[in-house]
């Protein structure tokens, strides 16, 4: 993954918030996903195209007690997982 790459929610995914926790429904398969704390925060942040560096910077500011390296690692893992499941899509940087 390059920092130049941009990430955004898949527009067809339906989200339901239950007591601040997020469930997503993939419309083609009907599969339901439950997001953990990191993925849930990431989903809420990806309402528009975001670069990974922008995501990490925002999360580092939001969670000052957590090491930046851990946030970077967690965000990378969460993005890879959500892309693999079709919940987040990748856009070239010039589409921002």
């Amino acid at each position: 993954m390059s920092d130049e790459t941009l990430y955004v929610r898949h527009p067809a995914i339906a989200a339901t918030e239950i007591d601040a926790e997020t469930f997503l429904v993939e419309p083609d398969s009907g599969e339901v996903f439950y997001l953990d704390e990191v993925s849930s925060a990431l989903w809420r942040f990806l309402t528009q195209n975001r670069s990974r560096s922008e995501i990490v910077e925002t999360f580092t500011a939001a969670f000052p007690d957590t090491a930046a390296e851990k946030i970077d690692t967690d965000i990378k893992a969460a993005l890879e997982d959500m892309i693999a499941r079709g919940l987040v899509v990748v856009r070239p940087s010039n589409s921002a």
């Binding site: 339906a14 339901t16 239950i18 007591d19 926790e21 469930f23 429904v25 419309p27 009907g30 599969e31 339901v32 439950y34």
Partner: protein
């Protein structure tokens, strides 16, 4: 290669209406299996539908020359299961009837659960296989609460939600645990209608158990967690926990995932949910009885 044949001598299969008058299920070629059905399912009306009904069957039973059977259901969640004998095929037919019945009701799902009426509402116990669902529900019956269902419970996606008795006969694994208590042992001995393959199928008297189609408000959903040597503890489950657990286990092939999620959220809004950690089913049932036998929240 085996060739499928019909069970009837005249090679013309009979059809049967099974279930409620307003929404019966059409079953083809059930003659060889029907005598065994009462061991597994109670309260479902059965009527002969002739040899040429005006629509296709919801469930087909195929009897093979070597004595094994296939029970084939159609519609959402339809399946094709094979059985070695008519008794097991009747068990399969019971499951297929429940699946077709649930799939025909857009407001209802089916939970893999046991249930008893405690106080003014249903306590539904859920969990993985061997979690103790049947055992805890039957121990509640031994304590005097009305047994409502074993293995499959219909539940409406409402607030408040109602449970529907599906009429499956309760069963317990044999041998009984050594710590089940004399009252439970006598209960199982007294109500056993059939035993085999390590299971006892029980037939309760009318009035002691819910009847097919009976609806009762859901008081609580309890997720069972059997743990050795850790005592008995009941703790509240959050709404997301409840939805997460149910969405992966509910039988709801007729409802879209989005609608199911929304429906479970409605159900969760109006239903208490708990995790029950326990070692002994008897003690688990005793705790649930104490907690819910009052008609008010404690």
């Amino acid at each position: 290669m085996l060739e499928a044949v019909d069970a009837n001598i005249d090679d013309v299969p009979d059809f049967w209406w099974i279930g409620p008058d307003e929404n019966p299920i059409l079953v083809e070629n059930a003659e060889a299996v029907l005598p065994y059905l009462p061991y597994f399912l109670a309260g479902w009306d059965i009527k002969w539908a002739g040899a040429a009904p005006d629509r296709s069957a919801d469930i087909r039973i195929i009897q093979h020359p070597d004595g094994h059977y296939n029970v084939v259901s159609s519609g959402p969640g339809g399946a094709d299961f094979s059985f070695d004998n008519p008794n097991d095929a009747a068990n399969g037919l019971a499951g297929a009837l429940i699946s077709v019945h649930i799939a025909g009701n857009p407001d209802m799902i089916c939970l893999h659960a046991g249930a008893a009426r405690v106080g003014d509402g249903l306590v539904i116990v859920l969990g993985d296989s061997f979690a103790g669902k049947s055992s805890v529900a039957l121990h509640l019956a031994v304590l005097g609460h009305r047994f409502f269902g074993d293995d499959q419970i219909g539940v409406t996606l409402d607030n408040p939600s109602h449970g529907m008795c599906l009429g499956l006969m309760p069963k317990v694994r044999l041998p009984l645990p050594v710590d089940c208590g004399d009252a439970f042992r006598q209960f199982v001995d007294g109500y056993s209608a059939m035993q085999g393959d390590g299971l006892a199928y029980l037939k309760l008297w009318d009035g002691e158990a819910g009847t097919f189609g009976e609806m009762v408000p859901v008081r609580a959903l309890v997720f069972l967690d059997r743990v050795e040597a850790r005592g008995t503890e009941l703790r509240a489950a959050s709404r997301p926990e409840l939805v997460k657990s149910m969405i992966s286990t509910a039988f709801a092939p007729h409802i879209s995932s989005s609608d199911l999620l929304a429906g479970l959220n409605r159900l969760a809004e109006g239903t208490e949910a708990y995790h029950l950690r326990f070692e002994s089913s008897r003690e688990a049932a005793s705790l649930l009885s104490q907690k819910f036998r009052s008609n008010t929240n404690q």
